[in-house]
Amino acid sequence: MASIPSRPIDAATLGAGPVARDPMRPEPWRIVRVVNETRDTFTLTLEREGPDARAPFSFRPGQFNMLWSFGVGEVPISMSGPPGETRHIVHTMRAVGPVTRSFQTLRRGDVVGVRGPFGTAWPVDLAEGHDVVLVAGGIGLAPLRPAIYHVLQHRHRYGRVVVLFGARTPDDLLFGRELEAWRGRLDVDLDVTVDRAPPEWFGHVGVVTTLVPRAPFDASKAVAFVCGPEIMMHFAATDLEHRGVAAERVWISMERNMKCAVALCGHCQFGPTFVCKDGPVLRWDRMKPLLAVREL
């Protein structure tokens, strides 16, 4: 990251959405809350520090920040909290590499660097008037959660709301309390499945794609948001198409090697797409041909 020049870039270069004045300069945010979601996944709530401490922060569901662990490195992490919350930002991440593992060691009061928000958002406006199907696999529920919050806040604008969530085991299910709350609502259809389960689990066992054929939505007027490991999104989007959802109404959230987050460095280039700027939320019909190319 040190080789990337720190210079102002105009907003038009960065795509839609509000951005920091200098998108290459991390701003200090203090951790005010740490929640261990599972063995390896945790949620940090951050509050802005420094002279801009009172400046509101806004983002759209699906966008991400670059989070800097000082002395270790920087990673792109989607927001997982409510989109209307301007004082705090919430990030849920899984400890899989040196940077995310270092975040896992941080505690309340520690300071991290934040750049953002960046990237495209789930098209929650476009989905108005339609059934909304949200398919999440594993940590993929985190980037979808702001979209779920938005849809539930404006529930009357949407048709049926279906949340399908798959995880590895029951111990890997994220946001347990919210899953229970959503399951208890009469205006949300939530179905959860796990790939493996101990005998005491009485829920579904099987991959999340097996929930698609039976889910209660009208495919002819549904919009789908899919987030999870790439192979899972591929199968889920394909099954949504088989169910009758048009490919141009299915959206996925891509993850690539995002470094600068402003489409300058080219690390995240995926065919003609810069995932950091044109994505991470992208239309399935445009991504499907690219995902079939092994060399990409």
Binding site: G97, V99, R196, P198, P229
Partner: protein, 156 residues
């Protein structure tokens, strides 16, 4: 009362010719299981299969050191059991009832006989079953990939 109207509403039989439905219905009966029951055990003669109408059943394997392992769960509309199609006609999994379940149970030997007697029924039924087997294989492949596991390439 004939089960034909009920069969016609089941996704697995959707679009099946009326005369075929009538033949299949002749091998079907309604059954009910309580939670905790086993509808079948590994090694039992596979002389039946089920279509779940309500409830939940699990396909399980029991291993000496790990206990029962759930391979997949089956709910409304799912077909449970394919061993009735092929020799030696023995169940390969335990069929464990996780929730009170109502199901259509089919006599496999009866259906096999009707498929031999009426190859057009046999072709139709085997095509339907093959599609389900392909879907299950695909799902099992995804399970084997362990897509949510920690993989060496996932670093930051």
């Amino acid at each position: 009362m004939t089960l034909e109207p009920i069969l016609a509403e089941v996704e697995f039989f959707r679009g099946m010719k009326q005369e075929h439905l009538a033949l299949v219905a002749g091998c079907a009966q309604n059954v009910r299981y309580d939670r905790g029951e086993f509808a079948g055990r590994v090694g039992d003669p596979a002389d039946k299969f089920w279509v779940v109408r309500e409830g939940r059943m699990a396909l399980e394997l029991h291993t000496p050191n790990r206990g029962a392992i759930t391979i997949a769960t089956m709910t409304e509309g799912d077909v449970v059991g394919f061993s009735w199609l092929l020799p030696p006609y023995q169940l390969r999994f335990d069929v464990h009832v996780l929730q009170p379940t109502r199901a259509l149970m089919f006599d496999g030997a009866c259906l096999r006989g009707k498929c031999v007697a009426d190859p057009s029924l046999g072709l139709d039924l085997y095509q339907r079953v093959t599609r389900i087997i392909a879907e299950r294989l695909e799902a099992m492949s995804l399970q084997l990939l362990d897509v949510y596991g920690e993989h060496p390439i996932e670093t930051d």
